[in-house]
């Protein structure tokens, strides 16, 4: 204790050491190993050797650009869909929720205490060919007589939208909840129509929530493979499916490692572009 009294500056570092060491050893170091692995060549039988094999990256892009583009496309559509679904919902809870706001939030969070895989399997049941939804859609002619929902890109995107919805809805709610009601009254007093009030007051003030929600939804969605696996076919496979099978089934580690880094890099670039376009200017302006 006296030692600590003499060296007070040490206290925060002592608090940090155990946790940060854990993150360093089991998050940063593994990424280093993964980078190393991505530049190796060889096969599992004869072993891998580090050869600065940059062509792993080029090969991965040439072979799997379809899945890569598809991942970004699905994740993008699902993010927009989640935004359109949850913005009005979050708005309603924040401004009309009264004292039961927390209960309504429970309706959003609650479903996500059913294991991810089980709720995705539930969608499989709902969208299955024998299910009510498909039968009704066939009867009213939206789907053809042998039209399907399962094993289509619609099913995969719907699954992704559903599974990551709370990551969108909760940040939106937090930013909408913090809006000072007097701001909205002021707009009304100054004869702004409800639409103008929304566009010029509410929406800009909720933008931090939109940005946070979009990122929190898009990033895991782009790396997801469970929805494509359970609700789709190889025609809908995303980059996550490729990485997963290359690592765990085909044991083609260098290619899988290169694909992982390509995924991370693409996400980082998109996030940076997005943050520059929306974040810095509109948030501060």
């Amino acid at each position: 204790m006296t030692f600590l009294h003499r060296h007070r500056w040490l206290t925060p570092y002592l608090l940090l050491v155990p946790g940060l060491a854990w993150l360093a050893v089991f998050f940063v170091v593994p990424l280093g190993f993964l980078a190393h692995q991505s530049l190796e060549s060889g096969t599992i039988e004869f072993g891998y050797a580090f050869t600065w094999a940059w062509h792993n990256y080029a090969d991965a892009i040439t072979t799997y650009h379809t899945q890569l583009v598809r991942s970004l496309e699905y994740a993008g559509i699902a993010t927009v869909a989640a935004l359109l679904l949850s913005y009005p919902l979050a708005y309603w809870i924040a401004f009309r929720g009264g004292r039961w706001k927390n209960l309504y939030l429970l309706f959003i969070i609650g479903p996500f205490f059913v294991t991810y895989l089980i709720r995705t399997l539930a969608w499989e049941t709902i969208l299955s060919d024998q299910g009510v939804v498909v039968r009704v859609l066939r009867d009213i002619g939206v789907l053809g007589a042998d039209g399907r929902l399962l094993a289509t890109s619609t099913a995969v995107i719907a699954g992704i939208t559903y599974n990551f919805l709370p990551f969108m809805a909760l940040p939106l709610y937090v930013s909408l909840e913090q809006i000072d009601a007097r701001m909205l009254e002021a707009a009304k007093d100054l004869y702004a129509s409800p639409a103008r009030t929304f566009l010029h007051v509410t929406l800009p003030l909720s933008l931090p929530g939109v940005v946070a929600g979009t990122l929190l939804t898009f990033i895991p969605a782009a790396g997801d493979f469970i929805n494509a696996q359970l609700l789709g076919t190889p025609e809908q496979y995303m980059i996550g499916n490729v990485i997963q099978s290359k690592f765990l089934e085909l044991t083609d580690y260098p290619a899988a490692a290169a694909l992982s880094f390509i995924l991370m890099a693409v996400i980082l670039v998109l996030v940076a572009v997005y943050a520059r376009a929306i974040g810095t200017e509109k948030l501060t302006g």
Binding site: M1, L16, W22, F26, L89, G110, T115, I118, F247, L263
Partner: protein, 283 residues
Amino acid sequence: MSASAEALPLPARRTGLRRSLAFARRNVLTVYAILVFAYLLVPITVVVAFSFNHPAGRFNYVWQGFTFDNWRYWDAVPGLRSALTVSLEVALLASLIATALGTLIALALVRYRFRGRSTTNLLVFLPMATPEIVLGASLLTLFLTIDQAQGFNTILIAHIMFDISFVVVTVKARLISFDRHLEEAAMDLGANELTTFMRVTLPLIAPAILAGALLAFALSVDDFVITNFVAGTTVTFPLFVWGAARVGAPPQVNVIGTAIFVVAVALMLTNILVQNHRAKGDA
């Protein structure tokens, strides 16, 4: 309703129509909210309902009839109990350790100004911004390179890793609003730093720590992607579901899913009721 409308003169009926249109327009948001709530809850209803299904054959896709048997014989599926046990053990240990490590980081970040603060924030943020599949893949690469056999221990290591960041964020959010005058009062009354921390600080931040621990527990029980990479031949509950799904998941999977859901929602509901009760008491 229609009879009385019939009796009304024409202009009045028009206003009635206009009024109901206005009502719909005014409540369009409420209607939309109800529809989205329904969308969120439909799959859960399916999970709960199919836990009472009496499936013919292996596939639990089509409703066949009501039975309590799946609940009574939840243990009848080989491997389910041990998978669930592994999941709960990992979640308990991982959330305890991650909560301890994460709370310390949160305390340092909120209470102290020090060099390397922004690096710390970045290091805490990055695991949450990395796709799970990359986290799993990189951990597997590490374990393969150092020849570490995969199993319970590697699952535990991975879960602690991804739990820490979420604990830091949760605890930090509540620590910021902490009234430090209370600690100063304790010190003024002669308590030393350790006593102040144990008797004043810790009890006050306990709810935040508990929230962080519960979040960590929930994330751990639910994790599939990372666990799938580092589990070796060990099976957790989500891995069991994954394996079962390939050949048709038995209704017992829905039973466990429903049970976890009910416990979690009951805990949260109690919390909301207690808070609302307190808010009422304060008012």
